[in-house]
């Protein structure tokens, strides 16, 4: 399942990701982090497409994005998949 | 003394520039201002011959910061200017001290305050020795009086700068810079280079490194200052330099540096011929000031005559150095006023 992880302590609650997500899958959290912000968090829905728009606008690099890829045994073992141009991976 | 080959007739500014090149100067950044223009002019042709960089910057502000960049990257770098230009460089010099970076700055003094004429003067003593920039910092200050010393002190300046990771100032003036004298243009000492692990050259095979002088956490800034002060005590202990002439039996000792010391030297010789027991004490390092040496001398000599080409700046340090009760008289002429040895002798007589 495609998903994102928002670093609870790093997020400063600017919510730019909330606006950026085309499917509104991110919301304002209810818990305070150590700095006194309410970090954003993914909603319960599971229709994330791993488009990474949220991570692209996040000023604090607080969002990691995970994409579901079919496990093709041979290739998956070694060859590093060439990153499609569309998805800006900056790892 | 090592064979330094034939003497050459050369201007002070050019001798200094050549000394810097032979000391390993590889980046010079400067800006035109009389009376030091021979330094950049000479280096603009000379540095490329040794694979070095000469760049005339857009201002003295830019020059000192280019020097800061070059030394931060591990290269021997220098700038030269004259009084107003040196005033523009004060922030940069304070940064060099705070960053603990080795750099050589040459001030061929001209008159002040303000724009000032281009005659010889020594009006920048306070600025040079008290630090014209902000914060508790010191710069080593070397005061040449001859063309030979212009060459030799350029070599020495780079060695001291690297040794203590500190800016070093050479304080000359129009006479010493512009006049030509015979001088050996071969260093009187081996060129010493030191390892510089602190420089920024890209974090290859090591964690990233940073050069800065702003510390916000806890008392880091205070700690830095104590580190600097320990260094300055060390410099005060080990790097004082001065020269004396006929002080063994002197009843009055003249204290003078730079061009004033040249005049004082002639005055001492003339006065001796007239039977006056006078001598000369010439500080070579204006900081660290030869306070201990003057104090010791003042145990025996109770009359000092401070002679400067300003209205009294080094005299403060002389008065602070001598034992209480010692008489310290002052004679000086500012902003281009150039007394003759006879004038000095006249003043000596009036003591």
């Amino acid at each position: 399942m495609n998903r994102i992880e928002i670093n609870f302590e790093r997020c400063k609650g600017c919510y730019l990701c909330v606006d950026a997500c085309p499917k509104h899958l991110i919301e304002q959290g209810k818990e305070l982090n150590a700095c006194g912000y309410y970090p954003a968090r993914p909603t319960a829905e599971t229709t994330c497409t791993a488009c990474a728009l949220c991570a692209t606008v996040c000023p604090d690099c607080a969002i990691e994005v995970f994409k579901e890829v079919e496990a093709t045994p041979a290739k998956a073992a070694g060859a590093s998949k060439v990153q499609p141009e569309g998805i800006k991976s900056c790892g | 003394m090592a064979d330094r080959g034939p003497k050459k007739l050369v201007k002070g500014n050019v001798a200094l520039a050549e000394g810097a090149v032979q000391a390993g100067l590889r980046c010079y950044f400067g800006y035109p201002i009389t009376p030091q223009n021979e330094v950049p002019e000479y280096l603009s042709g000379r540095l490329p011959q040794v694979g070095g960089i000469f760049l005339q910057a857009e201002s003295e502000l830019a020059s000192i910061n280019m020097v800061l960049g070059a030394v931060a990257a591990g290269v021997r770098a220098m700038t030269s200017s004259s009084s107003p230009g040196i005033s523009l460089m004060q922030e940069g010099i304070s940064f060099l001290a705070g960053d603990q970076l080795p750099a050589v700055i040459v001030n061929v003094m001209r008159c002040g305050p303000g724009l000032g004429g281009i005659k010889t003067t020594q009006g920048d003593y306070y600025q040079a020795t008290r630090g014209g920039g902000h914060g508790d910092y010191r710069t080593i200050v070397l005061a040449p009086t001859t063309v030979q010393e212009m060459f030799d002190f350029a070599v020495l300046a780079f060695e001291l700068a690297d040794k203590y990771r500190n800016p070093v100032l050479i304080l000359a003036d129009a006479v010493i810079g512009q006049m030509a004298e015979g001088a050996y243009l071969v260093p009187d000492r081996p060129i010493v280079t030191v390892d510089k692990p602190y420089i920024v050259t890209g974090a290859q095979g090591r964690p990233p490194q940073n050069i800065r002088s702003m510390y916000l956490e806890g008392d880091d800034q205070e700690e830095l200052n104590y580190v600097l002060q320990d260094k300055y005590r060390l410099i005060e202990r080990d790097e004082v330099r001065y020269k004396t002439t006929q002080i063994d039996d002197a009843e009055t000792v003249l204290v003078a540096f730079g061009t004033a010391a040249r005049i004082a030297l002639s005055a001492v010789r003339e006065a001796r011929k007239m039977g006056m027991k006078v001598g000369l004490f010439r500080p070579v390092t204006l900081w660290p000031f030869p306070t201990p040496q003057l104090r010791e001398l003042s145990q025996r000599v109770n009359k000092f005559f401070d002679f400067e080409l300003n209205l009294g700046q080094m005299v403060d340090d002389v008065r602070a150095a001598v034992v209480p009760g010692t008489r310290v008289e002052f004679y000086g002429r500012p902003a281009g006023g150039l007394p003759t040895p006879a004038d000095v002798i006249q003043k000596l007589k009036e003591l």
Binding site: L16, D60 | R46, G51, A62, A203, R212
Partner: protein, 269 residues
């Protein structure tokens, strides 16, 4: 099986920054770090920090950095690059640092065609010192030193650096981008990559102006601040490429000029 498709670039240290919530300095930092990774220059890079909000960038960039006095980053950068032409030098500066106190250093480094990449974050206020007017404060924009709004009569016009840079022959590439939405962040990323490329491949001077939001000093929530940049700032600071010379013999400041000074200089010794 899951594959991580977005994460912190190696060029950025794994720490929380001091920047305010919604401040796009953070975004700019990530894009620069991505460029350092992409071109593999992190290990020979030296970043020159300004005085301003990003003075503490040494805590965030995973490369060597040095703090310049306010306004002097491009002079310090020149010194580093001339001393060590093999190093990759970039300056990261705010509008006060680059366009106010440092304007002279900026113009001359640009016109000398120094092989340096300049990341210029323009947020129309002095952030670190609490929201005073910047050289790029918009007309009528209120700041703590223009309480009634900036006026032409008293404060004159906002300074347009990208346009100024484009008119200097020493400049190889110059663009103004922004970071107020995904599209602009991607464009800014391309611009930064291109500026880095210009230095690495052609020893050219690359200049990227990034319009940025300062929610704290605009006194707006992050989203509104971004919108202000998009709606208001862009009117005064139009986005686009203002100059992009094709690769060719750009005025590379060589480390040693071809012709040795002839022997008979006026001061031959």
């Amino acid at each position: 099986m899951q594959k991580k498709v977005f994460s912190r670039p190696e060029g950025l240290l794994d720490v929380t920054t001091h920047y305010c919530a919604g401040c796009t300095h953070g975004t700019a930092h990530r894009l620069v770090a991505e460029a350092l990774d992409h071109f593999g220059v992190r290990e020979r890079a030296v970043g020159v920090a300004p005085a301003g909000c990003s003075v503490m960038m040494y805590k965030y960039f995973n490369c060597d950095t040095i703090e310049a006095a306010h306004g002097r980053a491009l002079a310090v950068g020149t010194g580093i690059k001339r001393a060590r032409p093999d190093l990759f030098v970039f300056t990261y500066q705010g509008d006060g640092d680059l366009a106010s106190i440092g304007l002279c250093e900026t113009m001359h480094a640009a016109n000398r065609g120094e092989s340096i990449s300049v990341i210029y974050v323009n947020n129309a206020v002095y952030g670190m010192t609490g929201g005073q007017m910047a050289p790029t404060t918009l007309l009528c924009q209120r700041t703590t030193t223009t309480p009634a709004g900036r006026t032409v009569a008293n404060e004159g016009f906002p300074l347009k650096m990208a346009e100024l840079m484009a008119n200097l022959e020493g400049v190889t590439y110059c663009e103004r981008a922004a970071m107020y939405d995904v599209k602009q962040v991607r464009r800014a990323r391309k611009a930064i990559f291109h500026a880095f490329e210009i230095q690495i491949q052609h020893n050219g001077f690359g200049f990227v102006e990034l319009l940025s939001a300062c929610p704290t000093n605009l006194k707006m929530p992050p989203a509104k601040a971004q919108k202000w940049v998009a709606d208001e700032m862009v009117k005064t600071f139009p986005l686009g490429v203002f100059k992009d010379l094709p690769p060719g013999p750009s005025p590379a400041p060589s480390s040693a000029p071809a012709a040795l000074a002839e022997e008979g200089t006026a001061h031959a010794v």
